[in-house]
């Protein structure tokens, strides 16, 4: 019997709330709306759910969802750490649970009022003196006021620019392409609001070298999916979206957003770990994808990821985006929903949703003949990735 994970499980249902700056309701309610929509989409009765997976910073517990769904036989649940870096990992965990027979029907979800309740970009982390690892670790940064994700990413980006000659305009091309896709996606916050490279250059500094338009938005909203065996998915309502490969990644000198102490800080070696594993599991390579969802909380790391996955040689992703390969009509249109720069910041789970729609053929900016879609999760932190494919 083939013990590989590849092709064993599939995403059978997809649900989401609207994405907004203020949902006006509780996170639990958002989670329930998305979960019930995903189950309805799959044509699966809520009581059948026997597994859950989500990721950290999400504060909706799976037991409460289970209680409200009337689940009596839940055998698998996990919550994966490191926020957006885990965006792809619940699908991986669910696929492993399904492939090993521990669970048959797993709901993965992410529901947060990130914009109206918290704001990760605020520079305020409820920093405390208890010497837990993370409080001690933030002690190297917070006293200097070096305390925002944009600033931490900026530190890597500055060195990347210095080493490879990349410019702010190269980062801008990522934002312009994302906003172009968002402009034709009615679900996107920036629907009908495209930008030019000049707009990008003229937008104010958030943290040099990052302009405002290098940074994703902050959003409220939820996304959920139902994962079951590929075999069973064939008989359900929707076209199955097969989980071809999945991996998490931690590499040398890993920290949360501050891996500044590595020999070289111009790459994302944890994403290199993910890339290698995804290609090994699936037997695919960079040429196999018709579209991809590349995590875009900040533009510079999109270039780095294109390099880690071999779409461009190290330091040359700037040429790749200058040639427009990543944009509408390019050889590998990325983030066709508008990304987190253009659609919403649902911590990457909205990107997984877009990959599902691309495989189903139901995306608003549908790419032709989609066979395989690469999806990546948050960068600068322990991360994850997926390859989703047609059956």
């Amino acid at each position: 019997m083939d013990k590989s994970l590849s092709g064993r499980a599939a995403i059978a249902g997809l649900g989401a709330t609207e994405f907004s700056k203020n949902s006006g309701r509780t996170e639990l309610r958002l989670a329930m709306e998305a979960t019930l929509a995903a189950l309805q989409d799959a044509g699966i009765d809520p009581s059948e759910v026997d597994g859950f997976s989500s990721y950290s910073v999400d504060k909706v517990p799976e037991y409460e969802i289970a209680r409200l769904l009337g689940c009596n036989n839940v055998k698998f649940f996990s919550q994966i750490p490191h926020g957006g870096g885990a965006a792809c990992a619940p699908i991986l965990h669910a696929a492993m649970a399904v492939a090993t027979g521990v669970a048959k029907t797993v709901v993965v979800y992410r529901a947060m009022n990130e914009r109206s309740w918290y704001r990760f970009g605020s520079g305020d982390y409820g920093f405390a003196n208890t010497p837990t690892f993370e409080n001690v670790n933030y002690g190297w940064y917070m006293p200097h006021g070096f305390h925002t994700p944009a600033a931490w990413v900026g530190m890597f980006a500055q060195r990347y620019m210095h080493t490879y000659g990349a410019t702010s305009e190269d980062f801008g091309r990522v934002a312009v392409a994302a906003r172009d896709f968002a402009a034709t996606n009615p679900e996107a916050f920036f629907y009908e609001k495209p930008i030019t490279l000049e707009d990008h250059q003229n937008s104010r500094w958030v943290c040099e070298p990052l302009h405002l338009l290098d940074c994703c938005q902050e959003s409220d909203g939820a996304v959920a999916m139902v994962i079951t065996s590929a075999e069973r998915a064939k008989d359900l309502k929707q076209k199955p979206v097969v989980i071809k490969a999945g991996s998490q990644g931690i590499a040398q000198g890993q920290q949360i957003m501050t891996s500044f102490y590595r020999d070289d800080i111009t790459g994302l070696p944890e994403m290199g770990v993910v890339a290698k594993e995804l290609y090994a599991q699936s037997g695919l390579g960079p040429d196999a994808f018709q579209t991809a969802v590349i995590y875009d909380h900040f533009t510079p790391f999109v270039l780095t990821q294109l390099e880690e996955f071999g779409f461009a040689p190290r330091g040359e992703a700037r040429n790749y985006v200058m040639d427009g390969h990543h944009a509408r009509g390019g050889t590998l249109p990325i983030n066709t929903h508008g990304g987190q720069l253009g659609e919403a910041y649902i911590h990457g789970m909205n990107g997984v949703a877009e990959a599902v729609r691309q495989v189903r053929g139901s995306a608003i900016n549908q790419v032709d003949d989609v066979e395989n879609v690469l999806v990546t999760a948050g960068t600068g932190v322990p991360t994850s990735g997926l390859i989703l494919s047609a059956a």
């Binding site: 520079g123 920093f127 409080n135 006293p143 530190m155 060195r159």
Partner: protein, 332 residues
């Protein structure tokens, strides 16, 4: 109809208002007094002899004085003859009539085209550039209104051509309905002093912070394999030995990377806030605030830096780094 006044409000965007003149020509006594009040001791503004030897060939006005030249003075709305009596804040009045009584200034951004010299006569014109959609912030619900004042220097009688633009002031206010607030006690609330966040300190890192108190930069050292590591940890990341002590390092190094933080402005930090990633000569990297950065545009990877300990709030000593040359060549 709610939408009617809103359309009226939006229609005001783009409106330009007439000139407001300065009472006086730009003059040295006013500059000297302004510098005295602001605590500025740059001789370029006050010392004619010194200023003569500079590229400016005489004293110039501090750029930040720009707005001061055209202020009305002691008596409200008492502007020099010829100034407009149109009120560029008409939009605010309109918003206020709809039940948004409060106002707070949120941005005041000055930009300068050139230095202004003694004897120039200034005026400004105002344009209402933006009225945002209704927004809810921590303060309340209302509208962001943006005005841009453009400052000109009047051409002299012998010169030809147009008056010359010398600078601009973007001024944004939030005109709002405050959130309902519970009854407050009549005693005035004490204003809390916002301090720098203190680091979480553990048994693994205490020596570093004690070193800062002693003005020593202490880097963890492995007694087994002789490697240095930072940030400190309970074991050596190279050989997993628990046998660790520290070395006091030189505090010399170079700028390996850097950022300049602008937004959000979180107290008590000053902005822009330059932060460096320092590659110490001993080989490890330390992130830290940069001091003495006169012009953030001069920061370059590869510049030499030296540690300098600074104490904040009389209780927190941090290693900061000063750029000690302008050598822009990275060695790495």
């Amino acid at each position: 109809m709610a939408s009617e006044w809103l359309s009226e409000l939006k229609a005001m965007v783009g409106r330009e208002y007439g000139r407001v003149y300065a009472w006086d020509k730009v003059n040295a006594p006013m500059v000297r007094q302004w510098c005295e009040v602001m605590g500025i001791d740059n001789p370029l503004y006050t010392d004619e002899e010194y200023a003569k030897q500079t590229e400016f060939d005489g004293i110039v006005a501090p750029p930040a004085m720009l707005q001061a030249w055209c202020l009305e003075g002691l008596h409200q709305n008492n502007y020099p003859q010829g100034s407009t009596d149109e009120n560029p804040y008409g939009a605010l009045k309109l918003i206020e009539e709809q039940g948004y009584p409060a106002v707070v200034a949120v941005n005041s951004e000055l930009s300068f085209d050139r230095y202004i010299t003694m004897g120039e006569k200034l005026y400004y014109v105002t344009k209402l550039t933006e009225v945002g959609d209704e927004k809810t912030t921590a303060l309340g619900t209302g509208f962001f209104v943006t005005l841009v004042m453009t400052f000109f220097s009047e051409k002299t009688s012998e010169a030809t051509g147009d008056d010359e633009k010398v600078g601009e002031l973007l001024f944004r206010v939030f005109k709002f309905k405050p959130h309902q607030q519970p009854e407050k006690n009549s005693a005035p609330a004490e204003v809390p002093v916002i301090k720098r966040p203190k680091p979480g300190i553990s048994d693994d890192t205490r020596f570093f912070w004690e070193g800062c108190e002693a003005k020593e930069l202490r880097i963890q050292h492995c007694k087994t394999c002789d490697e240095l590591q930072h940030p400190p940890a309970p074991v050596c990341m190279h050989c997993q030995s628990f046998e660790l002590d520290y070395q006091v390092v030189s505090g010399s190094g170079e700028l390996y990377s850097f950022v300049v933080m602008h937004y959000p402005e979180v107290p008590p930090f000053d902005y822009p806030n330059p932060i460096g990633l320092i590659q110490l000569d001993e080989g490890v990297r330390v992130p830290a605030g940069l001091v003495g950065v006169d012009n953030k545009n001069d920061l370059k990877i590869g510049q030499r830096v030296q540690v300098e300990f600074q104490t904040f709030d009389e209780e927190l000593t941090l290693p900061m780094f000063r750029i000690i040359d302008s050598n822009a060549q990275a060695r790495s």
